[in-house]
């Protein structure tokens, strides 16, 4: 028995670009959006891995692939050492009970026609775990745990009758009601207000301890990672460019993109001045990514080799891996 709860091996997702019939007939090659391009990592039991990147970096797609909400183009996801592609339909149902998800938008992820109590107890019924008064009791218990109080009062309310922060608590309660051991949280606080954000973040940390959970925490905000993640992985154009223990990556960012990202985070301190010049331009299109290292057109360290060779993720010691031969002194 390994202590790796989730292992992702060379996961790749290329979405074919759909065009008109004629364009497809005459096109020499089919084009793809390379959303995820050879991503590998492991998440140990009880650990929180932060998956960080800008929009279009493939972080959400990676989360969906792990949950098997998408079938990968190639690569494999292992849950407790077993490839999820080998799970039968029936087994997959059981797995979904153990792997849950919290989406970004608590407005879109709740049915406006389902009361809060019904929404939270819905997974119990789907998985045949509980029904009737037992389901109601389990729902009320989880509502108390996530701070939806008074639970019996809120049970009958509908999503439009509660605040944005409470909605996100409903989404969290619904994810936890089946007692999962792994939760993908896809930008769970991106839509929330500042004062609500810190509350949700604190709640997620507390629930993790209480329910012995493992999270994949997807975010674009490095600053919030600090309060919840043990490890972080930085994604750029479908690839992981740096991965390691949070403290280590924050203190000693090696990849030029990681350093840029850390420096770009707005700091609530008027005396603070950024130390690095921001790179020119923006994240390129994942349809025709630059050859070699995909960051090279914006990188101030780029050398000739970066334009040609695709840099592998190399272990620099202490579980810290970086995909930059220039900065790790391997050119």
């Amino acid at each position: 028995m390994t202590d790796n709860l989730i292992r992702v091996d060379n996961l790749t997702m290329h979405f074919p670009l759909t065009r008109g019939v004629l364009a497809n007939l005459f096109a020499r090659e089919k084009k793809f959006v390379r959303a995820v391009d050879g991503v590998s990592f492991t998440i140990r039991k009880g650990e929180v891995l932060g998956l960080v990147g800008e929009s279009g970096s493939g972080k959400t797609t990676t989360g969906r692939l792990i949950l098997k909400l998408l079938e990968p183009t190639s690569g494999e996801v292992f849950y407790r050492g077993r490839a999820i592609s080998s799970f039968s339909g029936k087994e997959m149902e059981g797995l979904r009970e153990k792997m849950q998800v919290i989406f970004q938008d608590p407005y879109a992820s709740l049915s406006p026609r389902m009361s809060i109590g019904k929404a939270i107890s819905h997974p119990l019924r789907i998985h045949g775990l509980a029904d009737g008064t037992l389901a109601r009791d389990m729902t009320l218990t989880i509502m108390e745990k996530v701070g939806l109080t008074p639970a019996s009062f809120l049970y009958r309310k509908y999503p439009h009758q509660v605040s944005g922060g409470q909605r996100q608590r409903v989404v969290i309660a619904r994810a936890l009601v089946t007692s999962p051991d792994f939760v993908v949280a896809d930008e769970p606080i991106a839509m929330a207000d500042v004062s609500v954000r810190s509350m949700i973040l604190e709640l997620m940390v507390r629930l993790k301890e209480e329910f012995d959970l493992t999270y994949l925490f997807i975010t674009h905000d490095l600053a919030t990672c600090k309060y919840i993640c043990d490890h972080i992985a930085i994604m750029y154009l479908g690839r992981i460019v740096e991965i390691g223990p949070l403290q280590e990556v924050f203190r000693n960012p090696v990849h030029p993109y990681t350093a840029t990202l850390l420096d770009a985070v707005p700091v609530p301190d008027p005396r603070f001045r950024r130390t690095l010049p921001m790179p020119r331009g923006e994240i390129p299109s994942p349809i025709d990514p630059p050859p070699g290292c995909s960051f090279h057109p914006r990188c101030s360290y780029a050398v000739e080799a970066c334009r040609i060779q695709d840099p592998p993720l190399v272990d620099t010691g202490g579980e810290h891996s970086v995909a930059c031969p220039v900065r790790t002194g391997r050119t």
Partner: protein, 324 residues
């Protein structure tokens, strides 16, 4: 006009939206003074009235929203009482605004050049198309965009570039006040940093006065000279940026500052503020913040606090009733 002169003075502004279940009191008696050449950060959470305040300055409130009272005096003229013709002359040429989402603010059927030509010819009837395009090209280059992109359409541009186009359109008439409503919310963090750098640079080059509306205190920290913190439609605190971060007076400002993550600081835990922002149809009596305030006293639920002045801060909180 000299730097330091007041160009905009808002007094006791009330804005309301009558809706079927009552009246949303979005802005309740806000006072604000803006000096030439300064950057004012207008900060608060969603629903605090910061955008409504920004829209009111240009009288761009969407019905049923209306200004229910107060005045907005820009260089001696009250915008609240202004006629349609004067308003049209003011908007875009003297006071310009940029919005949160550059994609929905640009017309997908018009090239970037058309956007500029329309803006220029609306305000300067004598200008020819050729001259308009020439000036637009120069503006684009000063924003770091090649001038041949005037022929392109919004969908051909990246998010950061679109937002730079928006600011170019706002600045092409050389306005003296720019209202930027959450200009970086739709942008990624690196692009956001680039944009804020550009805004600081443009401020100096164009001698701008800026109202920067945002929910992110980190965004205004480096750029703003003064910061206004709003809560529940009312002004909580106004202070010079440095002083606001160092010595916040209002309990809400303190809570807000302690609950934002700071990547450079070693704070092991974030503070949380219990409760949620107020319902503005039935706002709490007295101070709007009192139900969430850890320091509230018996006066707070019953009487709305006036503005007290202390150490260069203006603060609307009963805790400081003995200080001024």
């Amino acid at each position: 006009m000299n730097p330091g002169d007041t160009i905009l003075k808002i007094q006791d502004l009330h804005v309301e939206f009558p809706i079927n279940i009552g009246t949303v009191r979005a802005v309740q008696g806000v006072n604000l003074e803006l000096k030439k050449g300064e950057v004012m950060g207008l900060v608060g959470e969603s629903g605090c009235g910061k955008s409504t305040l920004g829209f009111s300055i240009l009288r761009l409130l969407r019905p049923p929203g209306r200004i229910a009272g107060g005045s907005i005096v820009y260089r001696g003229q009250d915008i609240v009482k202004m006629g349609r013709k004067d308003l049209l002359a003011l908007r875009g040429s003297k006071i310009a605004m940029i919005f949160q989402d550059p994609l929905t603010s640009l017309n997908p059927l018009c090239s970037i050049g058309e956007h500029f030509v329309e803006t220029l010819t609306t305000h300067e009837r004598s200008i020819g198309r050729r001259e308009a395009l020439e000036r637009s090209g120069k503006m684009l280059e000063s924003l770091g965009i090649a001038c041949d992109r005037l022929r392109e359409y919004p969908h051909q541009m990246s998010g950061g570039m679109r937002q730079r186009i928006m600011i170019g359109l706002a600045l092409i008439m050389n306005p003296d006040l720019l209202i930027a409503d959450e200009p970086t919310t739709a942008l990624d963090v690196v692009v956001e940093a680039q944009f804020l750098d550009l805004l600081g640079d443009l401020k100096n080059r164009f001698n701008l006065t800026i109202i920067l509306i945002t929910h992110n205190l980190g965004n205004v920290a480096q750029l703003a000279d003064r910061i206004t913190v709003m809560y529940g439609g009312a002004m909580a605190e106004v202070a010079p940026a440095g002083s606001l971060f160092d010595r916040p007076l209002h309990p809400y400002t303190r809570g807000l500052l302690a609950s934002i993550p700071n990547i450079k600081l070693d704070q092991p835990k974030l503070m949380t503020m219990p409760g949620s922002p107020p319902d503005l149809v039935n706002p709490p009596g007295g101070c709007v913040f009192h139900p969430r305030c850890p320091l509230s006293i018996d006066l707070c639920p019953t009487q709305r606090p006036p503005v007290f002045s202390l150490d260069g801060h203006l603060v609307s909180c009963w805790l400081y009733r003995d200080s001024s």
